[in-house]
């Protein structure tokens, strides 16, 4: 039923185009010899098409936005007394089941006495209302298309600047496309801020930012033990920071050295082989890295440290040995190291661009002084590229902080305030996933806290990105 509008719309569009073109041709014939109509007939047709389709689309979009609410109110207001007295969400469930029963499917819930008998009749009534609304929307759209067509056919005459008007519409449409990008940002900020504000109305901001206890598990019932969760996110921030640090400790030197080797030492054939490899590494989905970290790197690291611990136990380092023997798969080191590997191609390609932006004249100057390649790199290229490299590192950090799958699969859930890479820590992104993928009731602080974490994450990465992009841009302009 709802998809019926599509063929109607297409038919109307074709009719308007053909009609507009024909009309423009006929009216063009009345021009005195030697004069030409301003726009081509096809452009008039396109103009007619726009004026026919756009009003219809506006009506249909309006209907799809408003009709669910209208339908809900109409079905509810016409319902028997008993149904009207249900709580809103129970009423929703009732009508959902009623529609199912009306369509011949079984109901999801078991309804008590007065409701069970009402299901079939109410279901039929509800689906009638739905059909009426759909029909109304289509009739409205057809009417709008007709009015638009009447208007535009009256306008078509040789002197009308149909081409300019059509082009105006096109540019408007393109502008609307780029406005989507801005709307996305607005949407992100609005959705994060709205739910975060609700969260911060129950948990004070200072407690969230500086509290050291994180246990968001609030009880479902108020009388259960530990019904109030603790929302001190500091351990999450520290855990995120620790894993980011480990990742950067891997990615920064390896990525930078690869970039230096590729841009200064490697021959064309070597470069042509290694670059695609790095691109593949960059294209591997993070869930794959997560799988690898959880099932290969984690157990390997644990075995290594447990073995090392076993060697130490009984010796002068007995305490350390005992500790190492208890190290688990989910240590921060595993997630950090694998994340670092993930970031290598990112750091390397950014640094490569930046090192290549250093003018050749500086290299020539240094070589002409008798400097070796490494001296040139260390004493001239890197100092010259320093701001750009710093920007690249900031971008990589922002990535590490926002990375989700590797930590979700390979890091732990225990919110510990530690900087020990062998301990399990948890991160902001891990907690967001954990909080929002279980059974959730929507208005509990537990669920809302995920949006508080999301807002924090968004702001931190935003600042890092803006600063980094500024730095890199200024750096590039310097050598342009």
């Amino acid at each position: 039923m709802t998809w019926l509008f599509l063929p109607i719309l297409i038919a109307a569009a074709v009719a308007a185009y053909v009609g507009g073109r024909a009309l423009a041709r006929r009216r063009g014939r009345s021009l005195p010899a030697g004069e030409r109509s301003h726009s081509r007939p096809g452009q008039h047709g396109a103009y007619a098409l726009i004026w026919t389709v756009v009003p219809a689309l506006v009506v249909l979009m309006g209907a799809s936005v408003f009709s669910p609410n209208i339908e809900r109110q109409l079905t509810a207001s016409g319902a028997p007394e008993a149904v009207q007295q249900l709580e809103p969400f129970r009423r929703e469930a009732f009508f959902a089941d009623a529609r199912a029963v009306g369509a011949g499917r079984p109901a999801v819930q078991i309804w008590p006495a007065p409701y069970a008998e009402l299901l079939p009749t109410e279901g039929q009534r509800a689906s009638r209302i739905g059909q009426m609304l759909d029909l109304g929307a289509i009739v409205g759209a057809a009417l709008a298309a007709l009015l638009g067509a009447l208007f535009v056919f009256g306008q078509i005459r040789p002197g009308m600047r149909a081409r300019n008007r059509v082009e105006g519409w096109i540019v408007g449409l393109l502008f609307a496309c780029s406005a989507v990008a801005v709307l996305t940002t607005v949407g992100i900020i609005a959705s994060l801020v709205y739910d975060s504000l609700r969260f911060f109305s129950t948990v004070p901001l200072a407690e969230f930012l500086f509290g050291t206890q994180w246990s968001p598990q609030t009880a479902i019932r108020a009388d259960q033990v530990g019904s109030t969760g603790a929302f001190g996110a500091l351990p999450l921030f520290v855990g995120t920071f620790l894993i980011m640090l480990i990742a950067m400790a891997v990615a920064a030197p390896v990525g930078l050295f690869s970039a230096i080797y590729l841009s200064e030492y490697a021959g064309p054939i070597f470069r042509a082989t290694v670059k695609p490899v790095l691109e593949i590494l960059a294209g591997v989905p993070t869930v794959v890295y997560g799988f690898f970290a959880a099932l290969t790197v984690g157990p390997a690291f644990r075995e290594f440290f447990n073995g090392l611990g076993a060697l130490m136990v009984g010796g002068p380092l007995d305490g350390l040995g005992q500790y190492l023997m208890l190290v688990q798969n989910q240590m921060a080191l595993v997630a950090g190291a694998v994340m670092g590997i993930m970031l290598i191609p990112f750091v390397s390609s950014l640094s490569d661009d930046i090192i290549n932006a250093v003018p050749q004249s500086l290299r020539d100057g240094s070589y002409a002084m008798g400097a070796t390649k490494s001296e040139t790199v260390k004493r001239v290229l890197l100092p010259a590229a320093l701001p750009g490299v710093a920007g690249a590192m900031l971008l990589a950090m922002s990535r590490a902080i926002g990375e989700t799958m590797i930590v979700t699969m390979a890091a732990g859930l225990a919110a510990r305030l530690t900087l020990n890479p062998l301990d399990t820590v948890t991160t902001v992104t891990v907690q967001i996933v954990t909080l929002l993928t279980g059974d959730q009731e929507f208005n509990s602080p537990k669920t809302l806290s995920a949006f508080g974490l999301g807002l924090t994450l968004f702001l931190v990465t935003l600042v890092l990105n803006i600063v980094a992009q500024r730095i890199v841009q200024t750096y590039r302009q310097q050598y342009d």
Binding site: A181, V182, F257, G283, V288, F291, L295, V377, L457, F458
Partner: protein, 419 residues
């Protein structure tokens, strides 16, 4: 004096040079080595999922236990287990523990296969019919040498007795090895031996269709506006900064946006390809805009000027000359961003694609899985047999990505123009 000094330092300087060069090579070695290790490990873990073991047992359709009219009600698994025990000459105890142990070697598929045979031909009741079904996940792992007798009995999921039964069944030719076609023709299942990736592949495909239909036109449109029509000014600058930042926003933030906007506010169906596609479209948008803009920039201004000089309007110039010339670059960028979208996982988890969804989706509105989220779900599963299937699902995912990237590289090579 000067020459002596120059020479004295030379050896040290060249040693330093050599070391530095070595660090560079080492760094590249780490990256390349890791890629090989990653792929090697995944192939090593995943290749066993591509074949599986089926057991074919003769089943006597005992009229006392099989109801012609309602064969689904029969406990075929127990029936088969008891008959198999009897055939192998093993006596069961009063509690039927041996039958239960035998039964756990067969997949529950056995029941459906047997019931389907009876339903198709009720006259089979009273006869002995060979029924084929997959072995259970643990038995499969044993045949793949991933469960070994050498492991102490209390640390493996099969008892010594079960292992000896399996050996005997294999020796008597009941067990066959073959390509695991179920992996590609079935949806997800709670039982590893019956789980396949088709549901997730279809889900991912539906999602990518939505993403492509939304993100590519919007992205190209936005890039055209910004590159060709937008007046230089503060608003345009703001949009540009905005797009650059959107490209770097963590993907999980898009998941939060999708949850709040599409599910909680617009009440679109949870875990549906529609919502997934919308979220991925918003994510892919900035990348497509950036790629399109750079290929529009690469079209030399002389072509625009030539068209304008012929009397074409600005819009005609853009749509008849600039955009067609930039199209290979646009398509390459679009395919690469689609490949990225295919592998994206975090936002899908937040819009509900973490729950177990059996079957294969048929519409944009029903809950579905996706390949990357299936990898996450299977990785979390406790059964060991899911591990090899996770790796296999990753291989399927990587195969799709390789095909997409190869298409992009082909496009670039075939149509790229240097001005």
């Amino acid at each position: 004096m000067r020459a002596a000094r120059l020479r004295a330092g030379l050896k040290r300087r060249y040693a330093r040079e050599g070391r530095f060069r070595l660090y560079g090579l080492l760094a590249i070695g780490v990256a390349v080595g890791f890629l090989l290790l990653l792929l090697g490990r995944i192939i090593e873990q995943g290749h066993t999922a591509f074949y599986t073991h089926t057991v074919t047992v003769p089943v006597y359709m005992d009229p006392a236990r099989v109801d012609r009219a309602y064969p689904q009600g029969t406990n075929f698994e127990l029936l088969v287990a008891e008959q198999q025990l009897a055939r192998m000459g093993v006596a069961d105890d009063a509690q039927g523990t041996k039958a239960a142990a035998m039964r756990s070697l067969f997949s529950s598929e056995l029941k459906f296969a047997a019931a389907a045979r009876i339903q198709g031909n009720p006259n089979l009741v009273g006869q002995t019919v060979p029924i084929a079904a997959p072995v259970s996940d643990d038995a499969d792992l044993y045949f793949k040498h991933e469960i070994s007798r050498a492991t102490p009995a209390d640390q493996r999921r099969l008892s010594d007795e079960q292992i000896s039964w399996l050996d005997r069944m294999k020796a008597s030719g009941l067990v066959a090895t073959h390509f695991n076609s179920g992996l590609f023709t079935k949806g997800d299942s709670t039982e590893p031996e019956l789980a396949g990736v088709l549901g997730a592949v279809v889900g991912s495909a539906l999602m990518l269709v939505v993403t492509a239909l939304i993100a590519i036109p919007l992205g190209v449109g936005a890039a055209l506006y910004l590159e060709e029509f937008a007046p230089r000014g503060r608003i345009t600058d703001l949009i540009e900064v905005n797009i650059n930042n959107l490209a770097a926003v963590p993907s999980i933030i898009y998941g939060l946006l999708g949850l709040a906007l599409f599910i909680n506010w617009m009440h679109l169906p949870r875990a549906s390809p529609l919502v997934g596609g919308l979220v991925l479209a918003l994510m892919a948008l900035p990348t497509i805009i950036i790629a399109t803009r750079s290929s529009l920039k690469a079209v030399p201004p002389s072509i625009r000027e030539a068209a304008l000089a012929m009397g074409a309007s600005k819009t005609q110039t853009v749509f008849q000359h600039t955009l067609p010339l930039a199209m290979p670059g646009v398509m390459t960028g679009a395919i690469i961003s689609m490949a990225h979208a295919l592998g994206e996982t975090a936002p899908l988890l937040l819009i509900g694609m973490v729950s177990f969804i059996p079957g294969i989706p048929h519409s944009l509105g029903e809950p579905t899985g996706a390949l990357p989220s299936l990898v996450y779900i299977w990785e979390n599963a406790s059964e060991r047999a899911f591990h090899e299937r996770t790796a296999a699902a990753i291989l399927v995912l990587l195969a799709f990505m390789i095909v997409m990237n190869a298409a992009a590289i082909f496009l670039r090579r075939r149509f790229e123009r240097r001005w």
